[in-house]
């Protein structure tokens, strides 16, 4: 740990540029996985057999493929099929798709936890499927879904480091590059770890807040 503070000051700007990309990848794939996860979950509970089977098999396929393979596929294989993505696009798309499976299962559990009487009450005042979802089921499901959703956010922040495998210069890759050119492995990776931790702590506190609120109801 010799000269840690000296190195910290020197490498900080480079690592910060990695932090920015880490945040971009995390937020991008979080948004994408949330939207896709909602779509899969709605298909699953739609009561339409074709849709719910399609969603179930999609989720299983996505769940069965490692994130890193999904990333390689999008970045290295898609160009052969005529679709060229930038590394950042491929990373957000890959992580977003990979996490949509877990989001979908989380959302579905939340939706199915809503008392059937709520749905009947909504129907009895003439609400159709979509209005029932929007006005009655989803607002109540959010409370149940939020704590696990917060955990997904934390996992996503850390898994964004896998984007380094397809050349996205986020925090982990920046750290690796500095370490391999300066051989200051200890100092550099300690800094990288501390920076991930610093970004996780607000999310951890957020999850705790969600859990408290969910417990109150």
């Amino acid at each position: 740990m010799k000269g840690f503070w000296h190195d910290a000051v020197e490498f900080f700007p480079i690592l910060m540029s990695g932090v920015v990309l880490t945040i971009v990848v995390t937020i991008g794939s979080l948004l994408l996985s949330t939207v896709l996860g909602l779509v899969w979950a709605m298909m699953r509970v739609s009561g339409i057999k074709v849709l719910s089977m399609l969603s179930a098999s999609l989720i299983n396929v996505i769940r069965g493929i490692p994130i890193i393979v999904l990333l390689f596929y999008l970045y290295f294989v898609m160009p052969d099929l005529g679709v060229t993505l930038s590394a950042l696009q491929a990373a957000i798309l890959g992580l977003g798709i990979a996490y949509s499976a877990y989001q979908a299962e989380n959302f579905r559990a939340g939706i199915e936890a809503i008392d059937k009487g709520q749905i009947e009450a909504a129907q009895s005042i003439g609400m159709g499927w979509w209005l029932t979802m929007r006005r009655v089921v989803l607002p109540q499901a959010v409370r149940i879904v939020l704590p696990p959703y917060g955990n997904v956010m934390i996992m996503m922040l850390k898994d964004s480091s896998q984007a380094s495998t397809i050349t996205v210069a986020e925090l982990a890759l920046q750290g690796k590059l500095i370490a391999s050119s300066t051989f200051k492995n200890t100092n550099v990776f300690t800094m990288v770890a501390l920076m991930y931790l610093t970004m996780s702590i607000p999310l951890i506190l957020l999850v705790r807040h969600f859990e408290k609120r969910a417990g109150k109801k």
Partner: protein, 243 residues
Amino acid sequence: MIELKDVHKSFGQNEVLKGITASVQKGEVVCIIGPSGSGKSTILRCINGLESYDRGEISVEGLKVDRDASSIVKVRTQVSMVFQRFNLFPHRTVLENVVEGPLFVKREPRAQVLERGRALLAQVGLAEKADAHPPQLSGGQQQRVAIARALAMQPKAILFDEPTSALDPELVGDVLGVMRKLADDGMTMVVVTHEMGFARDVADRVLFIDGGIIVEQGPAKTLLNQPQHPRTQDFLRRVLHPL
């Protein structure tokens, strides 16, 4: 205005309705009594399409009830339902519960609906609870909100599915009082209930259901005071004199 013709309904192997034929006239209060599992609630749930039925026909104001047709929305906006467990929306305030249907299903103007909602809450004695959330209310208060929610749809009839069965005994009276006032105002009501006093005093007609068929029906006082069928006699004896 509500017609049932030879309605059959099974849950799997279990046939719960074995040919129900009945009708409810405008302004009439009909109570349905009978042992649990006899199919009373299923009849109500079929009338507004919460359950499908296998055979026969149900119509409301000449409109066939078919839960898979888009016309079911029209049926449900004309026939409201009050549930045993209230089923209020816990994430919305009392007033929001009441105006939800008129605002989002019937798309009536907001100011007018809010005003009507407040008036209905006053009518059921809960004007001061408009901004509370349902879990903060007692069961009896929640059920009165549920009645206000049903009324807000300006229905032609209201179906009550054992509205007082989940209440503490001392809260039953408030709910029955509200229902009696509705009946006096000429609302068409079909009430599944175990409250024989309410049936006797308020209902025009009582149907006794057992084993999925209407065993006996008639004017409330006649049926409850001089039941003809042995099964009716036996049921009423058990309910009125449990010891």
